[in-house]
Structures are given as structure tokens and as C-alpha cells.
Amino acid sequence: MIVVYVICGALISVAALCSLMRIALGPTTLNRAIALDMFIALAIAGLGLYSAINRTAAALPILVVLALIGFAGSVSIARFVGQDDKEDV
């Protein structure tokens, strides 16, 4: 069973690296906004994996807060910054 958890952790880590690369590369701000939303969802997944491995429910309130913050962040960027969005030069 430990092999499954190691594989899951590696997959989530590589996925987080990919979305970090999109945050770095993304030519416009909206690209970075959705990549950030996805990064926070991957953080939820990673913390959930930790709480599944250790059978603890102590980390679950963090996931609720992260979900709400991720949504608020990307919606705020889309509403207020997306209109003045220019490509990186």
C-alpha cells in the first residue's frame, strides 16, 4: 500500500510543477489565474492524500478554506485584472 501512496504523491508533485511552469510561462494574467486555481486544487489533493495516509481528520478544515480561497482568487483576478490584460513582451 505504501507504493500506491508514493506513486500518488509523485503524480501530484509533478502536476504541481507543471502548473507552476504555466504560472511562470503563461503569456497573460488569466493564464496565471487559472494555473493558480489548479495549483490550489492540487494542494487540496496533496493535503487530502496526507490525511488519507494517516487516517486523520485534523487537516480537513484546511481543505475547505483552500477551496474557498482558490475560487475567490481566480474570480477576483478575472473580474478586475482580466480587462487590462496584455501579453508579456
Partner: protein
């Protein structure tokens, strides 16, 4: 094979498939050519992978309070992910340059996409 072991195996299967979907979403957000396609990758497989991971967690937990909180997390994520994707896409179509050559039809402006060059 006790019930706990069976649930552990089911939870491992759910966790593995959820992480595989999250990885697929990450590959998509890195490799897709345009913002609108990347919004697809960030919204759909990512959310389904997260739902599967939350299912895997719920099968490992042995308390009702933890399962209720997992329902809350799943409900919040399912409601907010389409809203965020929709707002980002609408802002992108109205105010930013998007690649018209990748479109097939443009139902928002009620026209067919311009023909490819």
C-alpha cells in the same frame, strides 16, 4: 479479508485514479495552445480527479464528521470550479486576443469562426 482491508483497497484505487486525472490535467494545462483550451484542462479533469481523491479519503476515514466535511469540500469545489472557468473564459473572449484559427464556431457572437488562413 476484513471490511477495513477491502475499503483500503477501494480507497487506494480511487486515490490512484484521482491522481492520474490530476496529472493529466497538469499535462493539459502545460501543453494546450490557447487560454480557452487550458481552461478546459483546469476545470474538468482536475475537478473529477479531486472528487475521486476525496472519495478515496472518505473510504479511509472511520468517522461521520470527517465524511460530512468531505461532502462540504466536494460541494464547494463542484460549485466554484465552473463559475471560475466561466468568468475567466468570458473575460478572455471579450477583452483579450484569443487564437481565432483554433475555433470551429463562435456561438457567443453568433457567427461562424473566420476561416483558417
Amino acid at each position: 479479508m476484513t471490511a477495513r482491508e477491502i475499503l483500503d483497497i477501494l480507497s487506494a484505487a480511487c486515490l490512484l485514479s484521482g491522481c492520474a486525472l490530476a496529472f493529466a490535467a497538469a499535462v493539459g494545462i502545460l501543453r494546450f495552445p490557447d487560454l480557452l483550451t487550458r481552461v478546459h484542462a483546469a476545470a474538468k479533469p482536475q475537478t473529477l480527479g479531486l472528487m475521486l481523491i476525496l472519495t478515496g479519503i472518505g473510504l479511509r476515514m472511520e468517522s461521520i464528521g470527517a465524511t460530512t466535511m468531505l461532502f462540504v469540500i466536494a460541494a464547494v469545489q463542484l460549485v466554484t470550479a465552473p463559475i471560475a472557468a466561466h468568468m475567466v473564459s468570458r473575460t478572455a473572449v471579450e477583452f483579450n486576443p484569443i487564437r481565432e484559427d483554433l475555433l470551429i464556431s463562435d456561438q457567443l457572437h453568433d457567427r461562424e469562426a473566420p476561416p483558417p488562413p
